[in-house]
Structure formats: C-alpha cells, structure tokens
Symmetry: C2
Subunit: 355 residues, 2 copies
C-alpha cells in the first residue's frame, strides 16, 4: 500500500533492531498546543467534524511533521469512533471531554450493540488513513490506533468522563458476565477496525488503555489485558512480509509490565511513574519500551528539557528497543518551541547509545 | 491524656503485634454517604465551618462509630487547614473541591509563609481532638492526620484541584530550590501540627500523600518522600511509654513501597492497584500494610462485598500487620448498609487468619 519507508527508525526500534539514534514521536503531537491545529479546529467547527473530514484529519496529522523531525505520524482521530459508529452519538464538549447522547445502561443496550463495518460505518477513518499514507509517501511510518475495550467501555457506560467509574465498576463487580459481553463485542470491533487501518496503510498500531490503571490487578487482567491480548492475536500484522509492530499502553500500568509483555505486543508504552531502566529490566528484553518523559517537563526551559532527556536516555542505557515519547499526551499550553528542543535533544543525545 | 483503650486492635496491628481479628476503618468514614453527616453539614452551612466548629467536627467524627463496629475514629478535618492558617483563604466549593483565594504564585509569596502555631492558629483542630478524645473515652483509638508537603503544596500553587499540575510541576522542574523552600516550610508546619495533635490526644497519625503518585520516581523521592521522612523523624511518638504508630499513604505509590517502608513509618497505606500479598512481600514484614479494597466494590451486593473481603484477607494471608481499609476514600453515593456488611465481613472472615 505505502511506498517503502525513507525513515524506518521507529519500526526498527519497536522490533528491537539496531538504529542510529533513538526514534521519537509524541502522544497527541497533532493537537491544541499547535496554533495551526487550532486554526483548522476552528474552521472545522467541532472536534468530531475534524475527525470525520479526511482532508482535515490529514492536514492536522501532518502539521507536527512540518515543524519537527519526528520519526512517525499518528492518525488524527479519537478512541471513541467505534461507539459513535455503534450509534451512541458522540460529541466532544470543550474543556469537559467526550459525551454520549445514548450511553449504554442496561443488558438490552448491550444486546443491541453490533460490530461496525470499518469500510462503511468508519469509512472516514480509513479514507483519512489512505489520504495521509499517500501524502506521507513513505517519509515516516504512520501509526494507527484504537482505544482498549475497557477504556472505550467505561466511556460507553458512564456516558462521559468519570471520577470514580461507579457505573463501569459497578457492572464489573456485580454483573461480570454482562461486562464480559460488552468487552467481547468491543474486542471484535476493535480487531476489525485495526485490521482495516492496517489494510488502508498504517504501518504500526497502538492500543490506548487510558483507564486500565484504575483497576485492581485481578480486574485488569480479566477485563482489560485479556481482551487486548485477544485483539493482538486477531491482527493481521504481516503485510507483504513486513511486520506491523503493536504497541500496548496502559496508563498507570507500571505494576503490570510483565503481564503486559506477555500479551503478544512488540512494545509497551509506560508513563513516567516507573524508571525507564526498571521497566526495561522488568520485561527482560522481550519487548521494546516506549516512553516516558513527564509531559510537565515541557513547561520548563530548554536546558531543563535537555537534562531530562539525557537522564531518560541514560536510564534506558545502550542497546535496542527504546522509543522516546512522553508518558502521556502533550498538554495544550505547551510552547511548540520546547517540543523542537525535545525532539532535537533525543536525536542528538541518543547517538552514543547506538554507537 | 486519653483513658486506656478498650479496643487497641488497630494499634496492635499497626505495630505488627497479634490481634484476634483484622482491624478495619474506612478513609472518609465520617462523610457524605451518611445521611446524618449530610444533616450536620447542612446545619453548619459550609464545609469549613463544620471543620472549624469543634462540637460539630466531634459529632460527625463519632457518627460512623454509632452505626458500625469500626476499630478507630478519625478526626474530621481537612488536609488544607495548614495553608488556610497560613492565610491563603480556603473554601470548599461543592462538587468542585478546595479553592484558595490567595494561591502561592511567586518567590515572594513563598518567602512570606510562616509556620502556624497549632495551639493558636489551628486551635479549632486541637479543641476538636480534645473533645473527641473525651467523648470516645478510650472506646477505640483516634487517628489524627495531615496532608503531605507535596500534596498540600500542589494545592497552594494550583489554587485548587488540577488535571496536570502544570504550576506545581513547572516549579519543581524549573525552580527546584524554590520548591524545596516551600516543602521545607510545609514540613516544619506539618511536624508541629501532628505533634500538637498527638499532645491533644490522637493515638495514631496518618500522612496523606494524595498526589505523590503523579510524580516520577526521582521527583517523588526528592520532593515528597524525603519530606515525609523528615516529618516522621520530627514526631514525638512516645506518649508515656506508648508508641503512636505512623501510617504513610501515597495514592498511586505501588511502585515505591520499598522506599516508603524505609521512611520510618510503622505502616503503609496502599491502593487497590497492587495485590495485598505482593505489597506484603515487597516490604518484607518491615512495616504493616493498610488497605486495599477498591471503593467501587461497595456499589455491589452484600454477597459480592463478602467475596472481595475474603479474597483480600486471603491475599494478605496469616499473621500480623494487616489493617483493613479501602484503597481510597469512600464515595458519597455508597449505601451505608454495604459498609455494615464490609465491617462485619472483615471481622468475621479474618478470625481464622489470627488463630
């Protein structure tokens, strides 16, 4: 589908192959901290129109690459496109977050859910992938993504952001069979969705488990990791002999890295609460590690940013299998100049570790 | 000061001495889930008036003990009484959280801060302790508490709750010396405050580090744990030959339990993301463990609650050093009947582990 890659540093690092310098990309790199993003966002009117218009999604996906020598593009979209396609009526409320007009509240609501067809119900996503892929023309790889079943499911049950996940956890603890049913339909939907993204041209996929970290270890394994493992098993990651690496990210999952590494993924994203060197030791070289600068470091000066980049690279140490990223999405108030400092520092300071 | 204890189960467990059954208390046990609390809260008008009126603080502190056979009372107060006494003007906004009229924003703001005198500036807290102590008459021990320097400091800098701690972390990363200065004045204030609570009659103290878990390991050690350790070292925990146990609780601190155990505390509070048995192994019997039921389990049925209590007790296993609690505060929508089930289950089901 895509031309052969001019910069395959990220794919190589995810597969734990040698690279010349540590690849870097940034979660939410196409986002509100960029004035040119805010312009397109305003033109679009609302967030979902931006997601649903392939030309605009393509435009904002490519914006950060025009500014910074990033090693990947990531599809501009939202983790809640699937429940939207299921008919729950998604809108994004400014400064509040996602909101569903018809949240899932009962067994009959769950019974009614069916697996969306990616090329019809979510065609705008696949069209955006094809457009971005063509525009990128192999300059850097394109990352596709989906939310995890647990994370998407909590939003569907709560109807929006939640402080205590009382509805989702209430169901998990009291009606586990019903929760499994919801996780199952989401797992099948996400598998199809990611496979369609791969077919449309993404060269890497990432599963975002934003809320796995609010669970107990037992509940995490049963209701989140288990289903992410099923998704990974269902992915067609061999594209013409080339492997599509899979990244698994559970925010707050630092205690569960060994289990995550056993789920069949190629890399694990970690937040900044765990030392990078400890994370590397825990997974014993079985997967690559992506992370993990505290996004708040970007509020500081170029000198401080360089120091923290240097410390992180040292913590990981020499050898393969590190992808530099923040430990969570970049925040809207960050100065883009500081992102330039970050990206350049990673490339420059990481060279000795790959000599 | 206080009469000798009729129920010293909690103190014994915190000091890892044998008990007949596992003691249990609940974070925020005096709180909004109790209709009788909501009545007093309404009578008081606002939250801080409730805190600042010793008779009312005493009344709500004792309410949960009239309903449930809990093994401790915990002083009804707020972790932000200290910055309020420093002159920042605290109010609690319904459904939003704390708000300071004069947050700390500059070096000169920090320079102006001075250590409050507990018996004058925070006399209402000490009067509440004396009143509760007299009313309890040794029925169960009274727990005193304070927020950690880092947690209190973040509120002082942000002015209220924060999503990303941009101001606090901005200072931590960019002006570490200034942040250390703030932590230092808070450490001295908290030490005096807890010592005054002990003198007024509390028999256990707990330090709540609600936001330590948003830091990297290095920043946690330097800006949070380090200061909590200084506080513990400064406490007069020998009251007439009786030891006042110290509990340390960092929400989201599951990755750092070994370091926490080395800070001089007697017990560590843990949230539900870590297995209780793993937590016990990590600290190697050097401290007691308090926790760690997911508060959301209380949304479920009595039968499910009993199952989860049983699993937690089994995870900890036989022997000393376990205090049962939730992994975080109880939520306002919980049915008090479920709390009764919880407390009774802990006492009943734990007996075999202490045989």
């Amino acid at each position: 589908m895509s031309a052969s890659l001019k910069n395959d540093r990220l794919i190589r690092a995810l597969l734990r192959q040698p690279v010349d310098q540590t690849p870097v990309w940034i979660m939410r790199q196409a986002g509100r901290y960029l004035p040119e993003y805010r312009q397109v966002r305003q033109r679009a009117g609302d967030f979902m129109t931006l997601c649903k218009t392939p030309e605009l999604a393509c435009e904002v996906t490519l914006q950060p690459l025009q500014r910074f020598p990033l090693d990947a593009a990531i599809l501009f979209s939202d983790i809640l496109t699937i429940p939207d396609a299921m008919g729950l009526g998604l809108s994004i409320v400014e400064n509040e977050g996602p909101r569903f007009s018809w949240p899932v509240r009962s067994k009959s609501d769950i019974d009614k859910l069916s697996v969306p067809d990616p090329e019809t119900d979510l065609r705008y996503v696949m069209d955006a992938v094809r457009l971005i892929s063509a525009e990128l023309d192999g300059k850097v790889p394109l990352i596709g993504f989906a939310g995890s079943p647990w994370t998407i499911g909590t939003y569907m049950l709560e109807g929006g952001p939640s402080k205590d996940y009382s509805l989702a956890k209430g169901m998990l603890y009291e009606e586990p069979a019903l929760m499994h049913k919801l996780m199952d339909v989401l797992t099948r939907s996400i598998t199809d969705y990611l496979n369609a993204q791969i077919q449309a041209g993404v060269q890497i996929v990432m599963i975002f488990d934003s809320w796995g970290g609010v669970l107990s270890r037992a509940a995490y394994k049963e209701f989140s990791l288990n289903y992410m493992q099923q998704i990974i098993q269902g992915l067609n990651t061999d594209v013409g002999g080339k492997k599509v690496p899979v990244i698994l990210f559970t925010k707050g999952g630092g205690l569960w890295l060994e289990e995550m590494a056993g789920a069949g993924c190629d890399a694990i994203g970690v937040d900044w609460t765990i030392e990078l060197g400890d994370a590397r030791k825990l997974v014993g070289g079985s997967v690559a590690i992506q992370g993990n600068l505290d996004p708040a470091v970007l509020y500081s000066s170029p000198e401080t940013i360089r120091q923290h980049v240097s410390r992180l690279l040292e913590s990981y140490g020499s050898g393969n299998g590190h992808v530099f990223n923040l430990g969570h999405g970049i925040q809207p108030k960050i100065d883009p100049e500081n992102v330039a400092v970050l990206v350049e520092s990673v490339h420059e300071l990481s060279k000795p570790y790959h000599a």
